[in-house]
């Protein structure tokens, strides 16, 4: 649906690219922005513009970072021999919020999912393997989601690492099919503490 008012349609088109935003929602958001005062809109535009300039992915763990190497990877107090593998930056954030995990992360940026055309080469598995050969890693904790794709991704990585390092999988206490960031902290801590060797 277009209004044939170019600046308006352009905003709708751009908003539609966002995950979870359909044409109807995009239209509503665009109307909201149209009524909003100019100053607020500029602030939003600035924030979006600066996102990619000031934030990048950590070269080592691929989590969000302001510097080349993120604060977690750079922290000498963190145990570099223990890597927790997660699907997305939000998952690392969820574990970080518990404040109990002393190791470092590796963010895959996705999950193996043939139905969505996502295969091992589409996520940061190769990079994880490289880290393991250099860093003197002792344990890899697989904290991908408790669903079929999350399990398959964990199995794939475990098969690659078999015999090289200790590989563990977080326990099954999570709600069915859950993503880590939806689980509450207690559940997450239990899942992490109850991890088992593959």
């Amino acid at each position: 649906m277009t209004f044939n008012i170019r600046p308006f349609d352009r905003v709708i088109r751009e908003l539609c690219r966002l995950p979870g935003v359909g044409p109807k929602t995009a239209q509503r958001l665009a109307l909201f922005l149209l009524r909003e005062n100019q100053e607020n809109n500029e602030r939003l535009a600035d924030a979006i513009r600066e996102l990619k300039i000031n934030i990048r992915f950590c070269k080592r763990c691929f989590n969000l970072s302001e510097d080349e190497i993120c604060a977690v990877c750079n922290n000498p107090q963190r145990d570099q021999s223990m890597i927790c593998v997660v699907e997305e930056p939000v998952d690392a954030l969820a574990i970080e919020r518990i404040g109990e995990f002393r190791g470092v992360y590796h963010v895959l940026h996705g999950v193996i999912s043939p139905l969505d055309g996502s295969y091992p080469e589409n996520i940061k598995i190769k990079e994880l393997m490289e880290r393991i050969s250099d860093d003197g890693v002792e344990e890899v904790i697989l904290a991908t989601g408790a669903n079929v794709d999350g399990d398959a991704t964990a199995l794939y990585i475990a098969n690659l690492l078999r015999g090289r390092v200790k590989v563990t999988r977080i326990a099954r206490g999570l709600p069915v099919g859950s993503q880590l960031d939806y689980a509450d902290q207690g559940t997450l801590l239990k899942a992490l503490e109850g991890r088992r060797e593959f």
């Binding site: 139905l115 079929v148 398959a152 991704t153 964990a154 099919g177």
Partner: protein, 369 residues
Amino acid sequence: MRINHINITRFRNLHDFRLELSPGVNLFYGENGHGKTNLLESAALIVNGRTPRASRIHEVVPHDGDFAKWEIELNVEDVHNRVECVIERGNQKRLIVDGQARKKLPGHDKGVWALTFFPEDFKILTGEPFNRRRFLDEIILLTEPAYMRVLKSYKEAYAARNAMLKSRVTDGMSFEPYEEILSNLGIEMTSRRAKATEELQNILERLSQDEFGDEISIALEYKPSLESFVRAENPVEQLKEAYGKSRPRDMAIKRTMLGPHRDDFTSTFSDEDIRKFSSRGETRLSVVALIIAKYHILRQRWNLNPVILLDDIFSELDQTRRRKVLKALPKDCQLMITAVDRDLSKKWLEGMNDIAMFSVLDGKINRDE
């Protein structure tokens, strides 16, 4: 559990009436096409959350209206809940329990449930195998709601492996994780279905002994797709290996062949294959027997009496068999039954307690004086 009242505003051709039901037998009589089945469907839709008929849920909205709306008062161990259901054209079904919007009926995962027989259920025995898989899975789900996760995960892993078979991916490393998941879940589904079939079989045998008599013997035999694996020493490992070996063939046809998605069970009536040799009456009797067996399994699990909805259960049965079916029906459950003829049905029900008769005419239902 039982239904105290049904209050129909609009539902298919039914409109504007309120019924007080008997805790015992409720018989709805009238010519076909006046709304008997629709009434049973309205109760099933609230209690079970879905229509037992082949149609889609929006078809319950009347042709000349924009919505369907009806209400039942449910009585589960003396706790009363007023449950209203509204379906507007183009919108999701809405459930309102005591004035509060709800996703599910309270107690739905604890055996609150209606046992139904609709003519569509013939398909369990005479239709495609997926009808039989669904029948077994439903029994397992009703006794063990967590089985849903097994079914859902299996379906996802199956779809994922199929997607991979259609893609350019050929390396074993990529296939193995999904094959391991399929192996674990496949063996689990097979053993659960085997157990469910065995339980059904035991109950059917008991029914023959106690209620039906020797001349009626119904037997089931589960035919798992993974038959050769479940007997193996290490079924999951063996199955995983078999998935690996079957990859070239599966890639050629672009579909996973091995697994419980191809299960079936066979059924016999007096040692004859029902699909090939049985009459309509024998088939009907067998389906009803299966449904009674399902009741016993649930009863054992939850110790709750479901409401029993039987649509047109008596036709095609002779007098002796009709009597046997009535005798085999659970005694302590509320029944809602449909039939065409009032006086005949009344005679059939002789000896049963708390009988209420309802006339169904042109979308209106009235309780007889």
